[in-house]
């Protein structure tokens, strides 16, 4: 046992349980009690005598003390206020502890062999006086050890077993059942009763609680077995530490149980296979909205638009200026903006649906205590928001990287187009000259012939052909570049969306899982360190 580590596991468990949305208030009060108890001197431990009315708790204490410490009476219920019986030399040290316990009736003893022991005679827990029961319920979590006192009449009462033993038994290490008033029975019957009681304890999973038989009414002689147990040289420190550890262990175990990880095994809430499938179909849904083919069309258009002013000669400037002015460029040749507007292209609901279905199928397999927490952090709206944030983040980053490709070839083609324009201009001038200076003052102009055709006509046709071919070359080249780029950004966007989604869409559920893992670890650690 390592108390420090044990309490650390309790802290971990409380933190994990809070993250899971479980009610950890009981565990927190255990932690509080443990800390307070450890703050008091630990060279004496507190043993409570607990039992129903009339089983002889006070008589038992008196028999051990050899004097009347706590008044015993036939009147039921007798003891209303707990009475403490403490070593005389420790009374001063113990006063803080006793105040915390709320015990004001204190008697002293000088028994050396019981130097580390303070006994508290508790009120009953089964009479018609509800205040007694409340007192016991408040005190029991704070004492270090308990002697459960029963008698032949009451040893199998449901109040005792259901209300106290089964509840507090697992949280105590130093405890014992005292079968008192056996003077009412023959020795054989006392043994039979004791065996029956042992069977019952075993049935309740409390087999390691010992049983002693006493006859307190006969005084010290009747309680030797019990006295022997008290004297058996346990160290107060150990009793206190083991009690705190047991309580902490129990608290951790309860939290782990309500999170469904009590056995220390944590299987992910969501089956990995189903999870992959769901994520894949979400990605499909999102990509349908992102519309990669549309993005590629835009990319190709943008590339062509970029090629036009550089490679289409003087008229290219005019047309691209017209495109920009009319907004056609913005609407159909701006892949970055197209990507950023992905959300406006329809409802996200069908894309999120596989996740909703996944959670709906998972919830029934989750322990009841964490269902509400899981349901709250996995609503379709939450998923949609996460999806929007995730995809937005990746697409915006992606869009910022978009650089419309360009090529030196465009400038060459552009230059050639300028040449073509110049030649065209020359041809035009030529024709104009031919018509205008028809009536030449000096001689006539002979039109050169190239074969059967006049040279200007051939030149014009050839130039137009070259211009057309250049324009086609630009178109094909820009289209080719654009498509290559489009494919690249399409692939990158797809990859980015898939990647980011896998990484972060189910993050809250992964955190939930890791809190469960943490709780399971705390439970395993507590089993090792609180034992």
């Amino acid at each position: 046992m390592n108390l420090q580590r044990c309490l650390a596991h309790l802290d971990e468990a409380i933190a994990a349980a809070t993250a899971l949305g479980l009610d950890a208030s009981a565990a927190a009060s255990v932690r509080e009690t443990a800390r307070t108890r450890l703050g008091f001197p630990s060279d004496a431990y507190v043993l409570a005598l607990a039992g129903g009315t009339g089983v002889g708790k006070s008589t038992l204490l008196n028999a051990i003390a050899g004097q009347e410490v706590s008044p015993a009476s036939s009147r039921r219920p007798t003891t209303a206020e707990p009475v403490a019986w403490v070593p005389a030399d420790r009374r001063h040290d113990l006063s803080g502890l006793l105040t915390w316990l709320g015990v004001t009736h204190v008697r002293e003893h000088g028994a050396d062999s019981l130097g580390e022991l303070a006994v508290i005679d508790l009120p009953d827990f089964d009479s018609i006086a509800p205040a007694h029961r409340e007192r016991v319920d408040a005190l029991l979590p704070r004492v270090d050890a308990v002697a459960w006192v029963v008698d032949p009449e009451k040893y199998k009462d449901e109040v005792m077993h259901g209300g106290y033993l089964r509840r507090f038994g697992p949280q105590l290490r130093h405890q014992l059942v005292v079968l008192n008033r056996t003077d009412l029975l023959s020795p054989e019957d006392a043994t039979r009763v004791s065996d029956d009681l042992r069977t019952q304890l075993r049935r309740e999973g409390l087999a390691d609680i010992g049983i002693v038989i006493t006859r307190a009414r006969e005084g010290a002689a009747g309680v030797t077995e019990f006295r022997h147990w008290l004297d058996s040289g346990v160290q107060a420190k150990r009793v206190i530490a083991s009690r705190v550890a047991a309580e902490a262990h129990q608290a951790v175990r309860e939290l782990a149980t309500s999170a469904g990880v009590a056995d220390g095994e944590v299987t992910p809430l969501i089956d990995p296979g189903r999870r992959e499938r769901a994520l894949a179909s979400v990605a499909r849904g999102v990509l349908a909205l992102v519309d990669i083919p549309g993005l590629e069309r835009q990319a190709v258009a943008a590339t062509r638009l970029a090629a036009r002013p550089r490679g289409a000669g003087p008229f290219g400037h005019v047309t691209s200026w017209v495109y920009r002015l009319t907004g056609r460029a913005r609407a159909s040749a701006d892949p970055a903006a197209y990507l950023r507007r992905w959300q406006l292209r329809g409802s996200l609901a069908p894309a999120v649906e596989p996740l909703r279905e996944l959670i709906a199928a998972t919830l029934p397999t989750v322990p009841a205590g964490v269902r509400g927490g899981l349901a709250a952090l996995s609503t379709p709206a939450v998923f949609e928001q996460r999806l929007v944030d995730t995809v937005d983040g990746s697409l915006t980053a992606e869009a910022a990287e978009f650089r419309v490709p360009s090529s030196a070839l465009w400038s060459v083609i552009g230059l050639a187009q300028y040449g073509v324009t110049a030649v065209l201009l020359f041809c035009a001038l030529w024709f104009a000259a031919l018509f205008m200076i028809d009536d030449a003052p000096v001689g006539s102009v002979t039109v050169p012939f190239l074969g059967a055709l006049p040279t200007p006509v051939v030149l014009l046709a050839a130039t137009l052909l070259v211009g057309f071919l250049l324009a086609q070359a630009l178109r094909i080249h820009a289209g080719w570049l654009g498509r290559r780029w489009a494919r690249r950004i399409g692939e990158r966007s797809t990859r980015e969306v898939r990647q980011r989604m896998t990484d972060s869409l189910l993050l809250p559920i992964e955190r939930f899982d890791s809190a469960r893992e943490q709780l399971a670890n705390a439970a395993r650690g507590a089993a090792a360190d609180c034992g």
């Binding site: 039921r76 219920p77 018609i128 292209r345 069908p350 709906a360 009841a368 609503t379 709206a381």
Partner: protein, 559 residues
């Protein structure tokens, strides 16, 4: 049988029936359940049979905590060891019925102990001389064997006289005290046996005075103001029969003997028990009715939570459907291409455009509408949205219910309540298919226009049906921007086409009809989902009605 008795029998039957109905509603509050059970057991086990026959054998019940000496007392009464007494607790798991053969047969075969499992009642034969009085030794009420308590509770409701056995250690225990309170409430004649009283004179006086005081305070007194308290000292035993000392319990033995021998006395005790029972009946019935009314308030609150959640989510769903951005623009673009094609616009246009359209149709034929694509898009989007909002309603309801102590267990029991039911997804698909068929049927009839019928047939009934469905979702209101452009453009063209086919009024009617059908479908689906929750909270009106009937059934009941 006099009229008073027959009135009582009628009322008993009615009340027992109502109590049974009430138990059928599975009260969540344990004490409410306990009261309803007491009422039913009491009516069936005692009031009705006793009102029917005052001469039936008197049932004397030995009741008390474990180890108090009930079995020992029965042995003393029988003068033989008929019930096992021992040191191991609880001694008895069965109830021992000590009665003559005829009496036992009458009691066991009659209805009085119907609610107690008869295999847990052992018959010990009594001589014929003790006919008329049957003594039954109940199992304990407070040991770890909880079944024992259940059996004792049933027996308590059925008996005519209760002998409460306790001890000097036990007399202030809480559990028996709660049972004694019920004894008093049901007006049952009571005898208290205080066993194992200390022999020491001073202790004895203390115990006696205290026990008397407590019993007196608890109202365990006979009507004449005396308390029937019999004390047995520690060690006063009769070892021959494993019983209590005969002379100590003589008063009780005498009383039982007298009851056996004098039928008049028997009748008197039976009548007294019945009178007490009738006095105690009205308060119990009213308490059960109060429980019902409280439950009605709780059920109402629970139902309101479900109602609000589902109504709010349904409203949110409707808003989304009307928002205009619903279907993917990819799909809309395809539809846009279809309705925007020249061959289709010929329906809309006139003059040259119409001529051009006719020519194009002649060359290219009518383009095929992307019907299946749009339909699938409509179905999958609506399905996803409806599932989302239904799931959210369920989650909100489950979450609010879980925070309430009266409903948390209901939610824990059925984890599927946290989201939409499995039934919903197929139901939506089926409902939408029906909705589409209905819309297409409307279209086939041409919205009541003869000319339209032929044109619709030319375009394809399914395609026009899809156009109407799109008219429900895609509309031009408030849509701007590049992406909305396609939605708005499609809506505009779509509307033009429908208007050309049907005329403005008929078109609006068609769309409105389709929209109303869709709303009705979603409302009914949501109602069906909500009913999963409502099934867990009984209808408040039914609870109130039951309470009223209960109160009415004891109205004017006099002892």
């Amino acid at each position: 049988m006099d009229s008073v008795a027959s009135d009582l029998i009628d009322r008993s039957d009615r009340l027992a029936d109502l109590a049974e109905q009430r138990l059928g509603l599975a009260p969540t509050n344990p004490s409410a359940h306990e009261r309803a059970r007491q009422l039913r057991d009491h009516l069936e086990g005692f009031v009705r049979p006793r009102a029917a026959d005052l001469e039936a054998p008197l049932l004397v019940l030995l009741l008390g905590p474990t180890g108090a000496g009930k079995s020992s007392l029965l042995n003393t009464i029988a003068g033989a060891e008929v019930s096992r007494a021992g040191v191991l607790r609880p001694t008895t798991r069965e109830a021992v019925l000590y009665a003559s053969e005829g009496d036992a047969k009458q009691i066991l075969s009659g209805g009085r102990l119907r609610l107690a499992s008869t295999d847990r009642i052992v018959h010990a034969m009594a001589p014929v001389t003790s006919s008329g009085v049957a003594v039954i030794d109940a199992p304990d009420i407070d040991s770890v064997e909880r079944d024992n308590r259940l059996l004792a509770d049933v027996l308590l409701e059925a008996c005519d006289l209760c002998v409460f056995v306790t001890t000097a250690t036990r007399y202030a225990d809480l559990v028996p005290w709660q049972v004694l309170r019920r004894v008093r409430e049901r007006g049952l004649p009571l005898v208290v046996v205080l066993n194992r009283v200390p022999v020491d004179a001073r202790d004895r006086d203390v115990v006696m005075a205290d026990a008397r005081r407590l019993l007196g305070e608890a109202g365990a007194r006979e009507t004449d103001g005396t308390l029937d308290l019999i004390t047995v000292d520690e060690g006063d035993v009769d070892p021959r029969v494993h019983g209590l000392a005969r002379e100590k319990v003589r008063p009780l033995l005498d009383r039982i003997e007298r009851l056996a021998s004098e039928s008049e006395e028997r009748r008197r005790v039976a009548a007294e028990a019945l009178a007490g029972a009738v006095r105690g009946l009205a308060p119990l019935v009213h308490a059960v009715a109060d429980d019902l009314e409280h439950e009605a308030i709780d059920a109402e609150a629970l139902r309101r939570i479900a109602e609000t959640s589902f109504a709010e989510e349904l409203a949110a769903l409707s808003r989304t459907l009307r928002s205009g951005v619903l279907l993917r623009s990819e799909v809309l673009r395809r539809w846009h291409d279809f309705v925007g094609a020249d061959q289709i616009t010929r329906f809309v246009s006139s003059g040259l455009g119409r001529l051009r359209g006719l020519l194009m149709t002649a060359f290219r034929g009518t383009p095929t509408a992307p019907v299946a694509m749009v339909e699938e898009e409509v179905v999958s989007t609506l399905e996803a949205l409806a599932l989302r909002h239904a799931s959210d309603s369920a989650r909100r309801t489950a979450s609010t219910w879980s925070d309430r102590s009266d409903a948390a267990a209901l939610i824990d029991r059925d984890p599927t309540l946290w989201s939409a039911s499995e039934w919903l997804a197929p139901a939506i698909r089926e409902g939408l298919a029906t909705w589409m068929r209905a819309t297409i049927d409307d279209v086939r009839l041409g919205g009541g226009r003869k000319r339209a019928v032929a044109q619709v047939a030319a375009l394809g009934v399914n395609a026009v049906g899809v156009a109407v469905m799109l008219g429900v979702f895609a509309h031009t209101a408030g849509l701007t921007g590049a992406e909305f452009g396609i939605a708005a453009g499609t809506a505009f063209l779509n509307q033009k086409l429908l208007e050309a086919l049907f005329g403005e009024r008929a078109m609006e009617q068609l769309i409105e009809q389709a929209r109303a059908r869709l709303d009705a479908l979603l409302t009914s689906l949501f109602t069906h989902e909500r009913e999963r929750f409502e099934a867990l909270a009984p209808p408040p009106t039914m609870l109130r009605e039951l309470a009223t009937q209960l109160r009415a059934a004891v109205e004017g009941l006099r002892a």
